[in-house]
Amino acid sequence: MAEKKKLRIQDLAKIREKTKALTTIRESEGRAKITVHMGTCGIAAGAREVMEALLAEVRKNKVQDVIVATSGCAGLCNREPMATVEFKGQPPVKYVDLTPQKIRKIFAEHVLCGRLVPEYALAVGSETVY
């Protein structure tokens, strides 16, 4: 944020819009949370590339109200890389056997439009931590 022009009142709201990502992360108040599981098994299976692809999508679409997190191994090591998508108030959805291409589809369909992608999903529901 290097522009140093004098602000007007309406500019304050504009800055708040632009910095929404910041407040979302620090207040932990996103519309949705996507957790990429990155235990040793996950990383070995390619979870880092999945994470990078996901972040690229978030930036490309300028989505500011979604939290991206990591967690340890989910337990189902032979189906890694895995990711869990949770919407506030809804049961979490676990996606398995992911690739960068698959996560891009999941982001476009599920996160942006709210439509589950059943062919990539393992299960719906289980412990909610969000």
């Binding site: 009142i9 990502a21 979302t24 620090r26 932990s28 990429v36 235990g39 990591t70 967690s71």
Partner: protein
């Protein structure tokens, strides 16, 4: 704005900085670069988090995980485990004393759970050197509202109705002060921020200035609009270099963005600020002395009336308020007087920041609603007294305040109840003491501070504090008499009555409250020649307990005067003629065989 998946907030208040926080930040950035995560993870330095006991502190968002007491060697492991593998590191988390399990999330930790953050809402949450982060969390919204939607009288009315009282110590109704300045004749009018926090043990103003300087600026600009001022000063004591630096950066950024200077936010309102650094005197925190200091004169208080609101800086109407008061103003304007006055008690509205220090488990800054009991602060948030000791007293209000005993633990904290008990809200410094603290020694400490810091104008204060100190010193040396106690009280009352300014008028409070609640300790020193807490050196003697001594020679080796005699496996003996009562022997002994006893106790060896 670049998107990251995690933000690492490194606490960089002065407390954590002195524990190496900037080095921790550097190590984090290096490790993140090493792991090629710099595009995913953001590292910033924030202001003080308040839990200063546990620094260096790191917050990981969005998880909300609280890491404490970090060392440089922990960083690579932390990055690997938490940020890559997603497994928060248990051994770096906070474990409450006397418990085993760590509490990962900040919002679940007792210290933070019961606090209500208004003034400190941005602590540990934003980079204080980036005005955009302040704006992100509704910063300058209140200013926009005040400048475009409210008339000056309406702003004054809102502050008056909120019930806000000055947080510097006196607790004068802020709205009334602003109304007086607004009505006063004379131009130009001035706005001053009092950041000369001098109370020993108080550091809330420093924290706010370091963590959230824009909140103070916003409050001051709103105040300027309300009163009709175009120029202001921020007076910060020079012992706060980080606060001075961050405030200077904040003012520069505000000017660049048109939030200070001419035509603020395009509303046509002009206001600008200057920083003035203090020069090392406690008395300069007194409002008229501070004004004299800004004028370039010696920092000595003058009589009021006339009050600064009528005749202040250079004889013009001036509103001078404390850092905390200014930082509260934007919240009231944004959320309304009703919201603010719903918190607190009937006469003391809102929240107050207390600096909880001394013999307490959770040292740090706490912001709580007025009316909370001392017990809740000391035991609930503070986590009680360490090392299994008992609570003995709590000093509230710094050198102008008083020491309150255990029987007053259920006192609700507000201006009136504290004054009635003989103490004072003051700046909010809260020093907790255990039964190893001597109350006479505490009175001596504060009197020594005051006799040094008195400006020296009034005989009652200058000579009064000096003579009171001499008497109390005499008592701690075992030479006190009953007449001394009576004289002490007489000098204390006169000092309180006849002095010009609040320093002198409250200088006697430490003496008067300790006499009121701990008279038995004074009598013990005077009549029994004994210091119950074992602190006053002249009244104790260190003695080896024959039944516990194993003859291990640890004490003999530790003694700097070589005055302990004894051979291996034989009971040792301390030669009292050369003993300087340093206590090194007691510290060295692993068998609790050395005791500090009253002078007259006979030792049997």
């Amino acid at each position: 704005m670049k998107q990251y998946r995690a933000h690492l907030l490194v606490c960089a208040g002065t407390g954590c900085v002195s524990c190496g926080a900037f080095k921790i930040k550097e190590a984090l950035e290096q490790e993140i670069h090493k792991r090629k995560l710099q595009d995913e993870i953001l590292v910033i330095a924030t202001g003080c988090n308040g839990f200063c006991e546990r620094g260096p502190i790191l917050m990981v968002h969005p998880d909300g995980v609280f890491y404490q007491q970090l060392k440089l060697e922990d960083i690579p492991f932390l990055v690997e485990e938490h940020l890559i593998k997603g497994r928060p590191v248990k051994k770096l988390m906070y474990i409450p004393p006397a418990e085993k399990d760590p509490i990962p999330r900040m919002k679940d930790i007792e210290f933070f759970k019961h606090q209500r953050l208004i003034v400190l809402r941005n602590r540990g949450r934003i980079d204080p050197e980036k005005v955009e982060e302040y704006i992100a969390f509704d910063g300058y919204e209140a200013l926009a509202k005040a400048l475009s939607e409210m008339k000056p009288e309406e702003i004054v009315k809102e502050i008056t109705e909120s019930g806000l009282r000055g947080r510097g110590g006196a607790g004068f109704p802020t709205g009334r002060k602003w109304a007086a300045a607004r009505a006063a004749k004379g131009a130009p009018k001035y706005i001053i921020c009092n950041g000369d926090e001098g109370d020993p043990g108080a550091f809330m103003d420093r924290s706010v200035l370091e963590a959230d300087p824009h909140s103070v600026l916003e409050g001051m600009i709103i105040g300027a609009k309300a009163v009709g001022a175009e120029k202001g000063f921020v007076y910060i004591r020079h012992e706060y270099p980080l606060a001075l630096k961050r405030m200077a950066i904040a003012i520069d950024q505000a000017r660049d963005y048109g939030l200070l200077g001419e035509d603020i936010l395009g509303t046509g309102f002009n206001f600008d600020l200057e920083i003035v650094a203090g020069a090392g005197a406690f008395v300069s925190g007194e409002e008229t002395a501070l004004i004299a200091s800004i004028e370039g004169r010696i920092g000595m208080p003058r009589q009021r009336p006339p009050f600064p609101a009528q005749k202040g800086l250079w004889g013009k109407p001036t509103v001078i308020n404390n850092v905390e008061t200014w930082a509260t103003v934007p919240n009231i304007i944004l959320r309304g007087a009703k919201w603010f006055s719903a918190l607190g008690t009937k006469t003391s509205k809102g929240t107050k920041i207390f600096s909880l220090v001394g013999k307490i488990n959770n040292t740090g800054l706490v912001e709580v609603p007025m009316g909370i009991t001392l017990r809740d602060i000391v035991y609930g948030i503070g986590g009680g007294i360490p090392n299994g000791q008992d609570f003995k007293a709590v000093q509230i209000g710094g050198p102008s305040g008083g020491c309150l005993p255990p029987k007053l633990l259920d006192l609700p904290v507000d201006y009136e109840s504290l004054t009635e008990a003989g103490a004072m809200m003051g700046s909010g410094g809260m020093i907790v003491m255990d039964d190893k603290t001597c109350m006479v020694d505490i009175a001596k400490y504060f009197l020594n501070f005051l006799r040094d810091e008195s400006c020296g104008k009034c005989v009652s204060c200058r000579e009064g504090t000096q003579r009171m100190w001499e008497i109390v010193k005499k008592i701690t040396e075992g030479k006190g008499t009953e007449e001394d106690l009576a004289l002490l009280e007489e000098v204390a009352r006169t000092c309180k009555d006849a002095s010009l300014c609040a320093l002198g008028q409250t200088a006697a409070n430490p003496v008067l409250t300790t006499l009121r609640y701990f008279r038995h300790e004074y009598e013990s020193h005077v009549l029994d020649k004994r210091c119950p807490a074992g602190v006053c050196k002249a009244l104790i003697r260190y003695v080896v307990l024959a039944e516990k001594c194993t003859g291990c020679q640890s004490c003999k080796n530790a003694c700097p005067k070589q005055c302990i005699k004894g051979t291996l496996k034989d009971v040792h003996l301390i030669d009292q003629t050369n003993c300087i009562k340093c206590g090194a022997c007691q510290e060295a002994c692993r068998f609790e065989a050395i005791e500090a006893q009253r002078e007259e106790a006979i030792t049997i060896v």
